[in-house]
């Protein structure tokens, strides 16, 4: 049992296997990690590259920035340097690595300096690390350099330490992905000395920021960060090794962290904090955003922020989800339970007391329902979130007309009240104003309704409460009425508007469900790729108000397989779709890759691989960043991919079935053919052998018989080979029908001449209708048809019976009949006798090839005519050939 305990945990093995598998066809990433510019990262990278080169590896400098340092330039000597791609941006040419050139060159190792660089707008990717990922995915090893402050999760700490905002960041997952991290370290004093010696280069515009940055304290702190990061990495490797070797050790139980973002400016910090926590504990973490009817979904900048937050979390390695629910707390707890979350991270509320009283903060709700799950409350700094962060804009103003309308409502209420001023108590007239507020809330939305409540109070005071036409109030009791009117107005407005929003959300949800349902229904009935693409284009286009195109692979390249109206995709879109197809990742508008495209390109991912690309061009540009729309498009793509795979699979199954049927038929044919070819040879070789060996001993009669048999069999063999050739030519389409107007009399004559030797006198009776016009036909081929038919009739009819050939016109057709007095054919076989190698039970001594009638059928059909057989009423078979007269 002791051995069993020492066995590595299956999950650990699986993880390791996956990592190895991912490594096997991906390139390996080696990161030269420093803590500041000037520590010698590029130098170290080049040195390592030279070593590899000396070992005989294929090394290429895809992009190295020497900043004119002679030592660096010297190291570059002797390394193959790829030309840079120059991207023009606002009149300036900016150098970028030429990814396509490197992919085409496909070196073993590529050097790409400055991993955190942001690419010039218009490049394929936003960030250089995405370029690097593409190189890795193509199986190229990449050496790259980066400073510690550029990692996402450390971004805010660095800012706190140095007071410098670092905008160029890379996801931490890259660090995890790296197969090797080389820490390039020199003591800060030495670095500062180099700086003073002018050995460290900065772009001019950054010089001032750098001065601020290169303070000894900063450098020490950054150095510690980088050392710790590298050490953590070593620790992880150690742990992985211990796990794989089943060395018992203290690893954390299966814990999982969940952080909840709301689109508030603090979410970003919350996410980074959670990532650090998760890192420290080495456990997976999740990020959710809960969309509620009242969560201000429709506010543009809120949506953008949520979208950014979720992207950030994804980059930091979280599993990201968006939920829709009425209650945020319920949704989070449900999600946490489903995903075995052990700890939930939430921000410390910043709301004022009285608002807390109105609605208990999320933290309280969570704690009350969390059960076994721990809740971590993280404090977040005050509203001055971070300098340089995008300014929080006010909510989009409501259309002005709505406020006008709400004023009009108050005015109308006042008009209604004025006549009754002396009659009714003012307290009753408050109700009229309340009505106006409710109507405003129902029709105009929250803010206009609140305006109505406010104006209502003023109007009530001014017009209704004595003394009239002044805001002065005679009876102070009315102040309570005012306050109540306003409070009730506001509460009703917010309630009504909430109900309205909920209804709207429901309607939207229902519309989504419906559109998905319609698509699924259409897809279920679609039996071909064309039908599926039609259904996808129609449904997706209608429900999203979008132009839709489907791209399918055609040989090496992707091709527009179908496109809806307004979804014409040019070469550029094709290239983007191609990229998405090859990399199995979304690309184009609304993504990080090739964002300048017009379409959002989603891979149609089925279980068997990516089948194609769904391109969506939304009319509403904001839609690309709405999680709701993205989810819907994802769902559409998923459904489409499933339907396509189903059609492809069923097509494959059909093909396999057809192939099997054909193979069976071919086997039967080959058997039949070899039988028919060999049988005559038996008689011929037998007869020849007999004649050669014992010819002189045989009587004259016996010799004659042998030779006649051999001769007949040879003729039969010849006929069979001829028939085989004919049917092969017919089936291969090698027979050209050359129609010329022909005399039917001539046709019959030719057939009879050809059969001359086989005909006894008077056995064929010909009935030709007088005045048959010339019929367009191929004389040679139709003669063969007639010969075959007459030959068949001769074979199957009693020796002394007549054969009738008749011809006449019927409408626009020529009818040519050959009738015999033979046994006929069983009704069920009447159509099958025209099939290849089909033979009915035949009288003794009759040899057929089973091909004659199928040749006839082939020729007649090639003429655009038809052939059929029927049993004659008096016995015997009649074969009728019909040919068009014109």
């Amino acid at each position: 049992m002791g051995d069993d305990d020492r066995r590595p945990a299956p999950e650990a093995m699986l993880r390791l296997a996956k990592a190895e598998e991912a490594q096997s066809d991906r390139g390996r990433l080696k990161i030269f990690l420093g803590y500041a510019a000037g520590v010698g990262k590029t130098y170290a990278m080049l040195e390592a590259a030279r070593e590899r080169k000396a070992e005989g590896r294929d090394v290429v400098a895809a992009y190295v920035e020497s900043h004119g340092r002679p030592e660096t330039d010297a190291l570059l000597q002797g390394l193959e340097t790829m030309p840079k791609a120059w991207v023009e941006y606002q009149g300036v040419l900016l150098p970028e690595p030429d990814i396509d050139a490197v992919l085409a060159r496909k070196p073993r190792i590529a050097l790409v300096d400055e991993l955190a660089h942001t690419n010039a707008p218009g490049s394929r990717h936003e960030k250089r690390w995405q370029d690097v990922e593409e190189l890795l995915a193509a199986g190229i090893d990449v050496y790259t350099t980066i400073n510690i402050q550029h990692f996402e999760s450390l971004n805010d700490i660095v800012e706190q330490i140095t007071d410098v905002t670092v905008r160029e960041t890379v996801p931490d997952s890259l660090l995890d992905l790296a197969s090797e991290i080389r820490l390039v370290d020199i003591p800060p004093d030495e670095l500062l000395q180099r700086l003073r010696d002018g050995k460290v280069y900065f772009p001019e515009q950054a010089a001032r920021a750098m001065e601020k940055f290169f303070r000894r304290g900063n450098l020490i702190a950054l150095r510690e960060l980088s050392l710790r990061r590298a050490a953590a990495r070593v620790d992880e490797e150690m742990r992985a090794y211990m796990e794989s070797q089943a060395i018992p050790g203290p690893w954390p139980a299966a814990e999982r962290l969940l952080v909840c973002v709301s689109g508030s400016p603090f979410s970003e910090r919350l996410i980074r904090t959670t990532r650090r926590l998760a890192d420290e504990m080495n456990i997976p973490w999740f990020t959710v955003y809960v969309e509620t009817p009242g969560s201000g979904r429709h506010l543009q900048e809120n949506r953008e922020r949520v979208w950014k937050d979720l992207r950030l979390a994804e980059n930091l390695g979280a599993q990201v989800s968006t939920l829709t629910a009425a209650s945020v707390a319920d949704a989070i707890i449900d999600y946490a339970v489903q995903h075995n979350i052990t700890r939930i991270v939430v921000g410390k509320p910043a709301k004022s007391r009285w608002r807390e009283f109105l609605r208990p903060p999320l933290v309280d709700q969570l704690i009350r329902r969390s059960g076994a799950i721990d809740v971590y409350v993280v404090s977040i700094a005050s509203a001055e979130a971070r300098p340089g962060a995008p300014l929080e804009k006010a909510a989009l103003p409501m259309p002005f007309s709505r406020y006008m309308a709400s004023m009009a409502l108050v005015a109308a209420a006042t008009l209604v009240c004025l006549p009754f001023r002396g009659v009714l108590a003012p307290a009753n007239m408050v109700m009229v104003y309340l009505l106006a507020v409710v109507i405003a809330a129902l029709r105009l939305g929250l803010r206009p309704a609140i305006l109505a409540a406010f104006l209502g109070v003023l109007a009530f005071d001014f017009f209704v409460v004595p003394p009239h036409l002044t805001f002065a109030v005679s009876d102070t009791q009315y102040l309570i009425t005012f306050a109540a009117l306003f409070a009730v107005g506001v509460i009703i407005s917010s309630l009504v508007s909430k109900v309205r929003e909920r209804a709207e959300a429901l309607r939207e949800r229902e519309a989504q469900t419906n559109s998905l349902y319609y698509l699924t229904r259409d897809l279920a009935s679609a039996a071909s790729m064309e039908a599926i693409m039609g259904a996808v284009i129609r449904n997706v286009g209608e429900s999203l108000h979008a132009g839709v195109a489907v791209f399918l692979p055609d040989g090496e390249r992707l091709k527009v397989a179908a496109a809806g109206t307004g979804a014409a995709a040019g070469e550029k879109e094709l290239a983007v779709a191609d990229w998405a197809f090859r990399n199995r990742r979304p690309a184009g508008r609304g993504t990080e890759t090739l964002g300048s495209a017009e379409f959002l390109h989603l891979p149609l991912q089925a279980s068997g691989g990516v089948l194609g690309i769904l391109g969506v061009k939304l009319e509403d540009q904001a839609g690309y960043r709405m999680p709701r729309i993205r989810r819907l498009i994802d769902a559409f793509a998923g459904q489409a991919a499933m339907a396509m795979e189903r059609v492809l699979l069923s097509r494959k199954a059909e093909e396999a079935q057809l192939l099997e049927a054909r193979e069976n038929l071919e086997r039967a044919l080959l058997n039949s053919i070899s039988h028919d070819l060999r049988t005559p040879l038996v008689s011929i070789t037998g007869a020849l052998d007999m004649l050669r060996e014992e010819g002189h001993e045989l009587g004259e009669g016996a010799r004659r018989l042998m030779m006649d048999t051999a001769s007949e069999e040879a003729a039969r063999l010849n006929r069979f080979v001829g028939n085989l050739l004919d049917i092969t030519r017919l089936e291969a389409g090698a027979v050209r029908v050359r129609k010329e107007p022909c005399d039917i009399q001539d046709l019959v004559g030719c057939a009879l001449v050809a059969l001359e030797r086989r005909l006894g006198a008077g056995k064929v009776v010909v009935h030709l209708e007088p005045e048959i016009p010339f019929v367009p036909l191929d004389m040679a081929l139709m003669t063969q048809v007639l010969v075959n038919l007459i030959d068949n009739a001769l074979k199957y009819s009693p020796t002394d019976s007549d054969i009738e050939i008749s011809a006449g016109t019927a409408g626009s057709l020529l009818e040519l009949e050959v009738s015999d007095l033979g046994p006929g054919v069983p009704e069920k076989d009447l159509t099958r006798i025209f099939e290849k190698f089909y033979r009915i039970q035949v009288p003794e001594g009759v040899h057929g090839t089973g091909l004659g009638l199928s040749i006839c059928k082939g020729i007649v059909e090639a003429h655009g005519g038809g052939i059929r057989a029927e049993n004659r009423t008096g016995g015997g078979l009649r074969v009728i050939v019909t040919l068009p007269l014109i």
Binding site: A714, N718, G722, L725, R738, E740, P741, C742, D743, Q745, D746, V748, G749, C750, L752, V753, V766, L768, F774, D778, M779, A780, L781, M782, T783, Q784
Partner: protein, 232 residues
Amino acid sequence: MPKENNPPRILVVDDEPAIRRFLRTVLDSEDFSVHEAENGHSALAAAAVLKPGVILLDLGLPDMEGVEVIRRIREWSQVPILVLSVREREEDKVRALDAGADDYLTKPFGVAELLARIRVSLRRSMQETPEPVYRIHELEVDLSRRRVVVRGGEVQLTPTEYELLRLLVMHAGKVLTHSQILSRIWGAAYVEQPHVLRVNISNLRRKIESDASSPHYIITEPGVGYRLRAEA
């Protein structure tokens, strides 16, 4: 009269030794003088040197197309050429005949058939000027007096019908392709209009055949052309 003493020379052109051996056996026994060639070039040389009475030619030769051999021989000689080929398609026959071949036999063929065709060819090539009166069964064509008699009674033919019949008689036993007949009687412009020919053949048959649906004199070679029956 042909010179009885010298047996007619026959040149056999075929790349298959088995076929050559078989033909030599058959023809030797009929007292022909047989010479062999196994490809196109040696056939052309032999034809020039030997001046054979008949050439039996296979179309599928290793070095050049049989039709090309016919064309080259026809540049300088009218020696009867009998094509023996496994190619049974009508366009192959037409190509060979149009190039100048006199007859076409599809392999495998009967020995009697072959000998009959050889004799017809020899006879045709040896009579310098055809007999003025041609007789077969009950059909009599007097070329010098432009008279056609069937079963004892004179038949009135249109000038075109007579020309057609005369052409067939002049080449009795030999297949004339559609285009050969059309170009000689109607002119080269009519080569693509076989319809005229069919109508005239149909009319001609009605006048000289006893049963037009099983013609006895004018034989249709489907897809190739027409032939006047030569042997009695």
